[in-house]
Amino acid sequence: MSYVLRRLAQTLFVVVAVTFLTSIALRLMPGGEQVLIGLTTGPGATPEQAAAKVKELGLDRPLLVQYFSWMGDFVTGSWGNTWQTNQAIATEVKRAMPTSLYLMVYGQFLALLLAIPTAVWSAYRQNTRFDRMASTSAFGMLSLPNFIVAPILVLIFSVTWKIFPFPSFYRSLWDAPVEHFKAFALPSVTIAIPLYAGYMRLLRADMIASLQSDFITTARAKGVSTPRLLFVHGLRPSLFSLVTSAAVNIGALMGGVVIVEQFFQLNGMGRLTVESIFRREYPTVQYAVVILALIYISVNFFVDLAYAWIDPRVRASRALG
């Protein structure tokens, strides 16, 4: 239990530090106030109008006060509106979140769906043609960043064979499922490719090590069938690295696939954050950063707990402190 409390304290510290640094960074960016004022009141604003605007937005208060005021607003849920377009920030975020979530889920799902069987079979049939092809192609995929993959996919599937739309028009899953999947198809594949490569290599390496353990021989000698041997006995002790990596990627994918979002023009959290930074929308950026940091940290936290469930030895050593 004390372990859990310790982790929570760490979490809190990290969240606070990250958000505080964010607000400092935002304020330090040059031209912030001028840009802001220029955008809100138009060029040629008089100094009095500028000062009034500054006061209105609360930007004349000391940094700490601003920070706590924004954080307080975040926690209470009264996020206010964007400064330039006067949209409710909450709405913007609510629009951006599902997109990012879909991308993340589809990408991870595709990657894991392909990676786990491939890795297991490669480890089982090590050094056969299948294994060599799978390993080589995974290695190649690691060298293909998403901004290279995306144009290629678009060239093939949107330009030459006009299957998928480009750019992707976001359609809700509930309204127009077919269009929804069509819109998300290429972006998800773009994301899934490097994920797949990483996962497959990780799991393959761990599986190879596990399959050489004695307890696999024991299970074999019991007459266990090959599928059961691989997936029940062999897979579970090999999942550590994969789970860690997948968990880290959840956080990374939510906020970091700006390139894919930008390229396919999907309005996800990454794009929202970046555009808000450019437009000096301080509160939006703050809240987006808080959300993303919270997601990242809580995922790590739950993965840590999951370790104990996957491997009972970890459970025991933790209990001992």
């Binding site: 353990s213 004695d214 307890f215 021989t217 024991t218 299970a219 074999r220 000698a221 019991k222 007459g223 266990v224 069938s225 090959t226 006995h233 579970r236 002790p237 996957i310 491997d311 009972p312 030895r313 025991a316």
Partner: protein, 354 residues
Amino acid sequence: MNRQLQASRRQVEGPLLEVRDLHTHFRTDRGLVRAVDGVSFSMARGASLGIVGESGSGKSVLSRSIMGLLPKRNTERSGSVIFEGQEIIDLSLNERRKIWGREMSMIFQDPMTSLNPVMRIGKQIGEGLRLHLGMSKDDARATALKLLQDVRIPEPEKRLDQFAFELSGGMRQRVMIALAMSCGPTLLFADEPTTALDVTVQAQILEVINEQRRDRNMSVILVTHDLGVVAGHTDEIAVMYGGKLVEKAPTRVLFSNMKMPYTEALLHSIPKIDDPSHTRLNVIPGRPPDLVNPPKGCRFSPRCAFVQDRCREEEPPLMNAEHPEHVYACWYPVGSPVHRERTAQLAAQAVGAS
């Protein structure tokens, strides 16, 4: 296949296991490793056979080869293994799987690593029961409990839900035995079952194995390098060297009337507790033979203290000794004139030296 085996079970006549000219070779970078090079023997139902040899003698490969538990690639097996009247050497993997656990099973050397670390004990034992005997989850659990009681593990109910790392080495080995017994096999291979355990626990484990053997009328093949282990717990002993069977006899006969100089040397190398302190250990000089290029003639000849020219040229076949069940492979066995002469020579040298 299973049905056929069950039918022939009623065939009480005839040996349980017949191995004829079994060869097991591994293809490696260095060449073909002849780990088992023409081994033949047979074994009756309910008997216990000890297979003794040093590292590199091929004893572990032999037991796995009989069972068919070796990787397919780069392995060549030839010869014949007849189990309960059926040839099993050329069975497919699926057919072999049906035998493993059900008709034959194996206990392995290192109990620390031989149990699945993330699966509960009860579940591991029950796996075979549910797979081969089609038991329900509850039945399997109840049977697993009974098996644990049979192997005399303390607090058996508690163990069912524990993990391997929560048990000591001796307890883990008992679990392995219970696991191997679970589907009632007719033949049990025990591959160095006590090597990784404390001396005090060794005797207990061997007792448990023997108890199970008697209760179930099961045959046991006990593979070990330790003559002490086989001395008290086997009916018959087979000695292996360099991939070949060099001597086989009922236990008492072997110890009282051994023929192979190698067996004699093995026995002499065991330190005796009542020897005076600082007694020199009798070691067998040299190293185990190269299994890729074995020596011509008798494989033990480079290290034998009694070697003659004939040993280096011609490989001795298995010959019968006085006792009908005793075979050995040596041109100048213990008791022969050459051997007696040489022994006297060596004794004189030893006296002269000390």
